[in-house]
């Protein structure tokens, strides 16, 4: 069974989803999907260990040789992203029950878990596969499931934001498909490894450049790269809270992975000026994302929306490291990918707990809430510190590597912008912390009957446990950085050495 | 020879019917044009199957004939049903 880990990784949730539909009882479906996601997590960890032991794994689906059949190709980068995605999937699902039973009507709850598993399977499939068309297929699965998940939010506006995302996502997916089609036209193959070998021969042609452009824009749409990010805040704000946790931790990460894969593995743009131009575009967009999105985040009153803008900013950091086009820059990106998943996951789970109590997460409602929910808000503070990049948290680690990478190339202004971004983060995190810890509790002016909901003290244990798992991971990996650093370093070296 | 002439005629006919489909004026005119095109496509596929010597085209023609009927009827029913519920709406 060990040799089949690459495929098990994806098909466990993929086949788990229809099985989950057959159960049709909310609690059963919940337990079952937790089982599935934990199995997936175990598989992905085993897979990572296997990759560490024996290098890149290649798995031929249907027993057909690589360019003819579909190949799963797991190397350090995939395995790393797979662990992040499946871990967040499992953790989110554990926390999901209370929020879901409150936010979604009962007959639809099993459907929620089904969509969740499908989304998980789609994201894992995108990451694991070594075949360009297969990427598109799984992109479709994950996107469709995501639209469903977002639209399940109990706000009417969830439908609208899901629709917005649907349009954008469909355009993105179509662009990616056109890009893949053009590549196939020029090389006659769909296998990524094979593509990488055959593309340099035709790299000068317009068709390849056009396909590069299409894929870049398509992925950037999915990624919410700065000027194309407009769908993200709405989607994150109105989606069910748990879905926001999951999406913030995984969906954009997988898109970043795709960008890395296509940019460094598939396309080798030979003309140095062109390459320089592309990198400059990345760096500029990254900086703009960090500054503008953080700035916008400060003015948000809805905390979910605030964190969503902060996510756009964090994507900016990743793109920055990416545009530096060096091993250490890429390493910083990969590290931030991992770290951001930890901290945003934690912060959004904390918000879930709050929303479970209050029903909404407006800044004004938080006043004094920390005294009632100390554990939740302690977690929020640590997560926020991590987001800012205070030493001893993971946020510091990735920013440190980013700064080092920038210093390596003597791009001092990047360091300045990173610091400015952190300062802005201090402001928006502080607003929440101040409200929750230091402002006096607001008198609840709504009907007396509702007061009981807020007087109950702490969030449910099922939310606190995954919350603190993530938060402690924030601290643990901030102190003991060996695991993510070594893996991201190997991955980055593989991309540069192997390419 | 006759096959080629038939194909060309059918293509012309489809083009002409498209004019009616776009021109309308009522929804029924459009459906009529759609139905017309549907049957012509069935014929054209059958004829082309012979022209290219690929008789498995006939399977497609058969599917077409079925699907065309179903879709015309379906569209018709929906027009009727929405119209009726709209009338109820007013009354």
């Amino acid at each position: 069974m060990i040799s089949h880990l690459p495929i098990l990784q994806v098909i466990i949730p993929l086949l788990g989803a229809p099985a989950c539909l057959l159960l049709n009882r909310p609690n059963l479906a919940w337990l079952f999907s937790i089982l599935v996601s934990v199995l997936t997590l175990i598989t992905s960890i085993a897979l990572l260990m296997q990759v560490q032991a024996q290098g890149t794994i290649s798995y031929m689906l249907g027993g057909w040789e690589a360019p003819w059949g579909i190949e799963y190709r797991i190397d350090f980068i995939n395995a790393f992203v797979l662990v992040i995605v499946s871990a967040l999937g499992a953790i989110t699902l554990i926390a999901a029950k209370d929020g879901i039973s409150k936010e979604i009507a009962e007959p639809k709850q099993p459907l929620f878990y089904v969509s969740f598993l499908l989304c998980l399977a789609g994201l894992l499939g995108i990451t694991a596969t070594g075949d360009a068309f297969n990427i598109f297929v799984f992109l479709e699965i994950s996107s469709l499931a995501t639209y469903t998940l977002i639209a399940m939010g109990d706000d009417r506006r969830a439908l609208w934001s899901s629709y917005q995302y649907l349009i954008v996502g469909t355009i993105g997916a179509t662009f990616i498909l056109i890009g893949i089609g053009l590549m196939y036209m020029m090389t006659g193959t769909l296998n990524i490894h094979d593509l990488a070998e055959r593309l340099p021969a035709v790299t000068a042609s317009n068709a390849v450049l056009a396909s590069y452009a299409f894929i870049l824009v398509g992925v950037a749409l999915k990624l919410a790269l700065f000027p194309l990010h407009f769908w993200l805040p709405n989607a994150y704000t109105y989606a069910p809270n748990i879905v926001t946790v999951f999406l913030a931790g995984t969906a954009t990460k997988v898109a970043i992975y795709l960008l890395i894969r296509f940019n460094f593995d598939v396309y080798e743009i030979s003309a140095p000026q062109f390459k320089y131009m592309i990198n400059m575009v990345f760096i500029t967009l990254g900086i703009m994302a960090v500054i503008i999105a953080s700035w916008t985040a400060i003015y948000q009153t809805n905390i979910k929306r605030m964190l969503a803008y902060s996510s756009v900013a964090q994507i900016g950091y990743m793109i920055l490291g990416f545009g530096l086009d060096s091993v250490s820059g890429l390493q910083a990106s990969l590290l931030h990918l991992f770290n951001h998943a930890l901290m945003k996951g934690g912060l959004f789970i904390a918000l879930t707990a709050v929303a479970l109590k209050l029903g909404k997460v407006e800044l004004d409602d938080l006043n004094g809430l920390a005294k009632k929910m100390p554990w939740t808000f302690a977690a929020f503070v640590i997560g926020g510190l991590s987001l800012i990049g205070v030493p001893l948290t993971v946020g510091f680690v990735s920013k440190w590597y980013l700064v080092v990478a920038a210093a390596e190339q003597q791009q001092w202004y990047i360091i300045g912008f990173v610091l400015l971004g952190s300062l802005l983060a201090v402001i928006y995190i502080w607003r929440v912390v101040e409200a929750a810890w230091f402002k006096p509790p607001k008198e609840l002016q709504n009907a007396a009957g509702n007061v009981t909901a807020t007087t109950s003290r702490e969030a449910p244990v099922l939310i606190l446990i995954p919350l603190w798992i993530l938060i402690l991971a924030n601290i643990y990996f901030g102190i003991d950085t060996r695991f993510p650093v070594s893996i991201s370093q190997q991955a980055a070296q593989l991309l540069f050495g192997g390419a | 020879m006759a096959l080629i002439i038939t194909t060309i005629t059918l293509l012309v006919v489809i083009a002409l019917a498209l004019i009616r489909a776009f021109a309308g004026p009522t929804v029924f005119d459009r459906i009529l044009a759609g139905n017309l095109i549907g049957t012509k496509v069935v014929l054209i596929i059958a004829v082309m199957g012979f022209l290219f010597g690929r008789p498995d085209f006939l399977d497609v023609a058969l599917t077409y004939a079925l699907i065309n009927f179903i879709s015309v009827i379906g569209v018709l029913r929906f027009v009727e049903i929405t119209r009726r519920s709209r009338e109820e709406d007013k009354s």
Binding site: H4, G62, L144, A213 | L18, V75
Partner: protein, 304 residues
């Protein structure tokens, strides 16, 4: 209706490019079911429609479309000529499919052997996409659980006494179903397969609903049935893969299914096509039923 015409015409276009299977799919999906579903959507949301308020958006969209078009044209400028034998697409992977597939898979329709065996995993993915779409529609539209037995739409259907149509469709439906089965199991030899068969099946059921009402249709296939079977189709497909896993081969390796490799391929393809057919048919019907229920809900609100 124009959509349906578009489907028909583009199908004959594919036909002339010699892509029979694509034409088949387009015939079934583009011309038949998608306009039906679109109309069902219109019927359920039509009364809420508003004129778009922002005049800027179409301009931006137009600009985007133009840019994309220019990019596409640039990209295709130095693409190999259509049908050129030395185009890279015809050099690398494709020749092997053409040369080896009759021996390795042993079925005449090469498209099926690529879809259902070489790239069977992609097809599994596509089936899951359809399944996901079904789940999406279900979770968005299907609100009601109670009051199953009231079918207002049936009243509306019953008002028009389309006697001739009823009789003709009564006569037609069984042959359509049989034809669906033929397409389902004939995919190895001619154009066709699970996707198309599923759509034909669904179309037959939809035709039935349109004339005899939801109540009678539910006696044959009700919501729960369709839900369960749409999942079972995916599971059936996946189970082939699991069987090969359990026998120590790679996922979806059909060779474990029989001694003789081509027989094994045959069995594998038959089973997965069945899975595809079941899922596609069930999801289509599911979506249709959901729309119908939604229309009913709208009518109910109106009556209040």
């Amino acid at each position: 209706m124009l959509f349906s015409i578009y489907g028909l015409i583009s199908a004959s276009f594919f036909m002339s490019m010699d892509a029979v299977d694509v034409a088949f799919t387009e015939a079934a999906v583009g011309a038949g079911v998608s306009p039906l579903l679109m109309l069902a959507t219109l019927a359920s949301v039509g009364r809420y429609q508003k004129k778009p308020t922002d005049p800027e958006i179409p301009k931006v969209a137009l600009l985007l479309v133009i840019i994309t078009g220019i990019l596409l044209i640039i990209g295709t400028l130095d693409m190999p000529a259509f049908g050129a034998a030395d185009a890279p697409a015809h050099q690398h992977v494709a020749p092997r499919y053409i040369k080896e597939s009759p021996e390795e898979i042993g079925i005449p329709n090469m498209v099926t052997s690529v879809l259902a065996s070489y790239r069977a995993y992609d097809t599994l993915g596509e089936v899951v996409v359809i399944f996901t779409a079904g789940i999406g529609v279900l979770s968005l539209l299907n609100f009601r659980r109670r009051r199953r037995n009231i079918h207002l739409i049936d009243d509306i259907i019953a008002i028009d006494e389309h006697k001739i149509l009823r009789i003709v469709s009564k006569i037609l439906i069984p042959p359509i179903l049989i034809f669906g089965l033929y397409v389902q199991f004939h995919g190895d030899f001619g154009p066709g397969g699970g996707f198309q068969a599923g759509v034909i099946f669904a179309a037959a059921i939809i035709l039935y609903v349109l004339f005899f009402g939801v109540k009678y249709a539910h006696q044959v296939v009700n919501q729960t049935f369709v839900r369960v079977f749409s999942a079972i189709g995916v599971l059936l497909y996946g189970s082939v893969g699991v069987v090969s896993l359990l026998n120590g081969k790679n996922f979806l390796d059909y060779h474990v299914l029989a001694e003789n490799p081509t027989t094994a391929q045959h069995i594998g393809i038959l089973v997965i096509e069945l899975g595809v057919g079941i899922t596609v048919a069930c999801v289509m019907i599911l979506i249709f039923f959901s729309f119908i229920e939604n229309i009913e809900k709208v009518i109910q609100e109106l009556r209040k």
